[in-house]
Amino acid sequence: MQQIRIAGVSKRFDDYLALDRVTLDVEGGEFLSILGPSGCGKSTLLRIIAGLEMPSDGDVHIAGKRVTGDPVWKREIGFVFQNFALWPHLSVFRNVSMGLELRKVSKAEIDTRVREALRLVQLDALANRLPAQLSGGQQQRVALARAVVLKPKVLLLDEPLSALDKNLRQDMQVELKSLQRTLGLTSIFVTHDQEEALSLSDRVVVMNKGVIEQVGTPQEIYSTPRTEYVAGFVGEACFFHGIVEGGNVLRLADGAAVPLAAPAPTGARIAAFVRPEWIKLETPSNGGAPAGVFERLIYFGQSSDYLVRLGDRQIRVKHRDGDRVFANGEAVALNCKAWPLAAGAQAL
């Protein structure tokens, strides 16, 4: 069942088109990320779903009901703000209980539900603290508890983890995901961090300049992106531009040939890309594979990368156990299959 339907939503601020006819369906219980750089319209879309902004055009449905004109307080959503937006004058308990108070829930039930929500985020011991007495991670959990205590139809999260430091962020990702699973909440998660989007989501929406570039599972978005923009945004990519020969080889301008991982129309001028971990470095032979110069090894501890100069580009290649060790300055060949981008021609 579709829990959220966004149909042809546009948003215009004065002369600036922030969203251009965006259409998107979100399934019940799904965790969907909206990924994109700042200014791409992802937050605006989320605020339109919440009712914090009104669309200039198009419709929003939540749980089968058209809510386009409804104000935020009637939409039964949970919203988690980037910088928590906790009420500094109220205790943790009252931050969480306000929504229930507004719904005239009985005192006993408020108490039960708030305690339960706080237990869920492991803050039941700190119910009487003020927000200022909590750490950043604890504040974020209060914000989560505040949103989920109302059993909302959808949970909307606006870059909720970006204010936290890296370690805390990874812990919170795990917690957030398990909380979402436990409650079976339909969630939309806005972020500019591709790792976060890929690791948390059932599906990822990549947005750019007010339009959706691609919607897909994390694997689809990462391995088989449709555009150069998506390929470049969700991970490190090395692009090749050339003409398709024989349906499965890309002939580059310098004469090198790169095999394609999927067929493409012969004679078409397209772009294809490889991820660092798809490439295997070899000693040059007569195969016609792209040739480069080994520059150096970067050691990270648990893994390491090769840096290879390819014409005027420098690309990364993932080092794998058992790889041959190259000397700096040694000529190498790139053994890899490139993924042809459907919209490659336009990206040229």
Binding site: L52, P71, V72, H89, S91, R94
Partner: protein, 289 residues
């Protein structure tokens, strides 16, 4: 060493405070326990006579002290309500407008108070625009006396105090992120209840500062009651001035001043205490309700 040089740094400000505030205050308090012979000559023997005269006379207690405190308190209430909405309107207006709106609020402060009050007399006068409007719209069938009564003094005091209230509340409101209200709306609060539950309690420090300022200004009003009260609306500060300059009874004038100061300070302490205990009691009340 460091401690001593820090203390030394305080010397200029402390001595200025002492010279311009503490010493005159001590002198005035001392004066209030002296008396004056019929011709205004100071008699330095200690006496409680001035206080007895004031505190045992219904005229001084009711017509003077109570009227002063009552009008100042009412004017403060109006000033804070008007000032709050003014400040809110400015905070919620487009950022590019805000400096101009602030300027508009500050503008009257650069005009001499006497001139401002005199122009208010023109506005409120029998042939002034307010009365013309009332008659023209038929709300009143003939000009009503808006001047030379307590209402006129109230209007005058509100006019004086509002800019100060706006400024002190504006500062606090500006520091409250709008997102806090939005957060309340996401949990189901209408804009009104979001304001009542979030912005209003968070702006309490501004309201407190604004009302203390407004009450302090109003209770010391001098020009306004003289000009707009038409000589009928007696005020403590005016009485102190006239007692000094017309009756030439400096000790009794000092007594009026001291009583006004003590009552003002007591009122403000009481007010702060009341507001504090009210805000402290809020969470308990709300969860109970």
């Amino acid at each position: 060493m460091i401690g001593r040089s820090k203390t030394l740094l305080l010397v200029p400000s402390v001595s200025i405070l002492a010279a311009f505030f503490v010493v005159p205050l001590i002198w005035v308090v001392g004066l209030s326990f002296m008396s004056s012979d019929g011709t205004g000559k100071l008699v330095t023997d200690f006496t409680l006579g001035n206080y007895t005269r004031f505190l045992t006379d219904a005229y001084y207690l009711d017509a003077l002290l109570w009227r002063t405190v009552r009008l100042a308190a009412i004017a403060t209430l109006f000033s804070v309500v008007i000032g709050y909405f003014g400040a809110l309107a400015i905070v919620r207006s487009a950022p590019s407008w805000q400096p101009w709106l602030i300027l508009l609020v500050m503008l009257p402060l650069w005009v001499n108070l006497v001139v401002r009050t005199l122009s208010l007399m023109v506005v409120l006068g029998r042939t002034g625009p307010v009365n013309q409007f009332l008659v023209w719209t038929g709300i009143a069938d003939r000009p009503i006396p808006l001047l030379f009564n307590e209402t006129a003094v109230l209007i005058g005091m509100v006019q004086v105090a509002v800019p100060f209230v706006v400024m002190s509340i504006y500062g606090v409101l500006q520091s409250i992120p709008r997102q806090l209200e939005h957060a309340a709306m996401t949990v189901g609060a209408t804009p009104l209840s979001a304001f009542r539950r979030v912005t209003l309690p968070l702006s309490m420090p501004g309201i407190l500062a604004g009302s203390v300022l407004a009450f302090g200004i109003n209770v010391e009003s001098f020009v306004v009651p003289i000009l707009l009260g038409g000589g009928r609306v007696r005020f403590m500060s005016v009485a102190a001035y006239e007692t000094a300059t017309v009756s030439n009874n400096l000790p009794f004038a000092a007594t009026i001043g001291v009583i006004l100061l003590v009552v003002t300070m007591a009122m403000l302490a009481l007010y702060q205490w009341a507001v504090r205990s009210m805000t402290r009691a809020r969470p308990v009340l709300a969860t109970a309700g």
